[in-house]
Structure formats: C-alpha cells, structure tokens
C-alpha cells in the first residue's frame, strides 16, 4: 500500500545522521521532525532566522516574534540562536546546512526540480527554495509520485518553470525511494506492498532498478 504523508516523512527521517543541520520545507517535510530517532542529535534551521527550532508552543504560550518559515508559531530548544536573513542564507549558501528536505511539483531524471510556479495560475514565489536547492550538498524531495489524475511527476524533463537544475539527490514518494543517477531515476526501495511494476508505471522518466531493490523497513 502506498505511504501516507506521515509514512513518507518517517522514511525520510531515516536519512538523518547525527550532527546534521536540517532545513525542512513546508508540507510533508515539516512532519519529518516528528520521526527523528532518539539516539540522533540534529538541529533544525528555519530560513527566517532560527537555528535549534523546537515543537509548537503549548497553548497560550505562542509568541508573535517566534515563528518558522511557514509562519507557524514555534519554540526553541537549548542551544538555539536567532540571526538575520543574510546570515541565514549564509548558512544555506555556504553549505553549513547539511540537508534540505522539500516538496516538489515535478522532478526530472537529471535532478531538476520545479516547485514554485504554475504559469498563469499559481505564482506564490520561490521563497528560499532556489537558494536551498542551488546550495545544499544533499537534497531530498518529499513528493507524490503522480498527480490526482495519475500523471507522473517524475519526468524526463520538467514542464514547469524550474527551481533548480541538477540538484535533487533523492526522492521519497508514496511509492518508493529513488536516487538520481547518471542515466535516470534509480529505484532503491518500494513502499510496503507496492510492486516494482507499480513504480515503473507511475514514473514517466527513465527508471533503472537499483542493485537490490527492497521494501522499505521502518
């Protein structure tokens, strides 16, 4: 059975390593914070100027001066710090943030990503996404494999305006885990109960099977 949003987040959480500074995008990526293994220390960076982000505040303890990049009220943990936006993107552009997890509308088999604009329809802006994808050493995309009508979002070439080129390293979708290889998507893992055939069907771009494609374990 395909993963739900929490399942995708849970699988992505396995990619976190001890000592990682992580930037989580809006949507599914935000959920990753709920699945960090206890034995691992990571810190969350929010590009509006917070390092060491904690959970949402207890009711009544919200502070208008303390939000994340999704404009949600948050808290901070021990060792946190505040800084300005130029410093925040110094952390991002300077590769001090180790891992970026973000959503996408489309990803191409060469690692291009589109997630900020649908011409004539939706133009909310790229926010920090263009800086994040252009800079991060390690980018994981959390996304749905297909749109509601079943059309693949893992493409040979993106059709929407790009956010960045040749930057995505890994995709975790409701159907599986895929890397970007030199010749296309490489399937590494399938979601529990999802067949390799289903992933092939849902992928428009070239798909290569990894050496040992296996089912995800949680």
């Amino acid at each position: 059975m395909a993963l739900d949003k929490n399942g995708i987040a849970q699988r992505i959480a396995q990619e976190l390593k001890n000592g990682y500074y992580v930037n989580l995008g809006i949507g599914i990526p935000t959920l990753v914070a709920n699945f960090i293994p206890k034995e691992i220390n990571v810190e969350f960076q929010s590009e509006n100027g917070v390092l060491g982000m904690g959970p949402f505040p207890f009711e009544g303890e919200e502070d208008a001066d303390l939000i994340n990049a999704g404009k949600q009220t948050i808290t901070t943990l021990k060792g946190a710090s505040f800084f300005d936006s130029a410093t925040s993107f110094a952390m991002i552009r300077g590769k001090h943030v180790n891992l970026t997890i973000l959503g996408a509308m489309e990803v191409s088999q060469t690692g291009d990503i589109a997630n900020w604009k649908i011409p004539g329809k939706m133009v909310k802006g790229m926010g920090g996404a263009m800086d994040l994808v252009a800079s991060a050493e390690n980018i994981i995309v959390a996304m749905m494999h297909t749109n509601r009508t079943g059309i693949s979002k893992l493409l040979k070439k993106c059709s929407l305006p790009l956010t960045g080129v040749n930057c995505v390293k890994k995709i975790v979708s409701e159907l599986g885990v895929l890397d970007i290889g030199p010749n296309g998507f490489i399937l590494r893992e399938t979601a529990p109960g999802v067949s390799i055939e289903e992933v092939i069907q849902a992928t428009e771009g070239d798909l290569i099977l990894g050496d040992e494609v296996h089912e995800m374990s949680f």
């Binding site: 959970p55 949402f56 009711e59 502070d63 939000i67 404009k71 936006s85 552009r93 790229m126 800086d131």
Partner: protein, 233 residues
C-alpha cells in the same frame, strides 16, 4: 552621540513621495514596520515600488497598501496568503518581481555594505537568471546579482536608543538588520526607545550609523499568521 530620534511617525516619514522605492523589513507579518505602513496608508502615496520578503495578508501588513492600490511594483520572494495581491497580479495591475529569498537578503546586505554586485548559485538555470551574467566558480555555475537601490527603508526593532542602535527579538529580526543602511534614508520604529548608554554596546544588533531616524512606535498588533500549538500534557 548623534541623536536620531524623531518624535512621531509623521516626522519619521517626512520626504516619502509617490514613485519611490521602499525597503520593508519583516517575514510574513513577523517584525514588520506596522507604524510606518499605517502612515503610508494615511499618506496615500502611490506608485510605490516595495521590496519586502512578503506582501502581507489581505487586511494587514503590505496588504493595506495593496488594497488602496498604492503599490505599483512588488519585489518579494513569496507572495502567497493574499487574494487581493493575486487578483492585481493576474490582472496585470500590479508588477511583480519574484527573487530568491537569499538573493533578496544578500542584495539588501550588498546595498548596506557598498558591494555593487556579487555571484550566487541561487536561480542558475531558471527563469530568474535570464538576462543575467552567469559564471563558473569551483565547477558550479553562479549568477551575478546587483545591490538594491531604494529611497527609504522601514525597519522594525524591539529596542532602540537615541543613537539609532537597534536590538531585535526572536525571529522578528529576519530582514530588518540587513535592510538598515540599504536605502538612502533608514527609518527604524521600535517597541521601546531608551536613552543612549542604556543598551550594552556588545549586545547591539545594528549600529546607529545605519539608521537615520528612530521613533517609538505605538499600538503594535503583532498579528500571528498561523497559530500552531500543542496540547499541554
């Protein structure tokens, strides 16, 4: 000590005219110069070009200026959460230039720091880079971006002193410090204005040299866009 205090928002905005370019601090509705925006609404100056990370919501922040059609051009990184904005943009009434958030911050910082242009990897290979110089450094392509030019900068800080020194609070810091000194005239509004010598020189986030006018603001609403909480257990 060079005294930067003005007694009210009206004096603070003296000289603001239609057709000017403004820099405005804040991220979402957090740390926005509420008093300066309210005064702009009162002044009814039009054809403004506004550089700010976001464009407010329909009935707050820069949304108040949009409602009165005072803004000709918006330069921002993210403009969701605003229906009037979307309507004006799609109808062509409002000119919109979207730029990566880090580039927005760095272009302001560059203006502050006398750096006319710099290379950044953000946006290379996207429509953002069209018409801009690209160059390879360390095996990676970068885009040349220019410093902003603006007439006024409106900044919101937590505390400030007579000398224009500023201290920010929490994530309300965001774009405010990097926009100080990036326009010809920087106007800072603060929740608490104290005499010079009150703030520890070691704890000042922005030196008064980057600020031309400072005043104590009033009636801060500090609206929360997304009130997210967890239950007490």
């Amino acid at each position: 000590m060079i005294d930067k205090t003005v007694s009210n928002v009206s004096l603070a905005l003296k000289g603001v005219k239609s057709n000017m370019t403004l820099l405005l601090g804040g991220f979402g509705l957090c740390g926005i110069p509420e008093n300066a925006i309210a005064e702009l609404v009162r002044l009814k100056t039009t054809n403004l070009s506004c550089i700010s990370n976001n464009a407010g919501v329909d009935d707050f922040g820069l949304g108040l200026l949009l409602k009165q059609k005072q803004i000709k051009k918006m330069i921002a990184s993210y403009v969701g959460e605003n229906e009037e904005f979307e309507r004006q943009m799609l109808s062509g009434e409002l000119e919109v230039e979207l730029i990566p958030q880090g580039t927005l911050a760095e272009r302001a910082r560059a203006a502050q720091a006398g750096i006319p242009a710099f290379f950044t990897p953000a946006g290379f290979g996207t429509e953002i880079a069209e018409g801009k110089e690209g160059r390879e450094f360390n095996g990676k392509m970068h885009v040349l971006e220019n410093a902003f030019k603006a007439d006024f900068g409106f900044i919101k800080a937590w505390k400030g002193d007579q000398a224009g020194n500023l201290i920010f609070k929490g994530s309300a810091r965001n774009f405010n410090p990097v926009m100080c000194g990036a326009a010809k005239i920087t106007v800072a509004e603060v929740e608490e204005l104290v005499p010079a010598g009150t703030l520890d020189p070691n704890e000042i986030h922005v030196s008064g040299i980057f600020v031309q006018r400072i005043f104590e603001g009033t009636d801060y609403e500090k609206r929360i866009e997304q009130r997210t909480v967890r239950p007490k257990i």
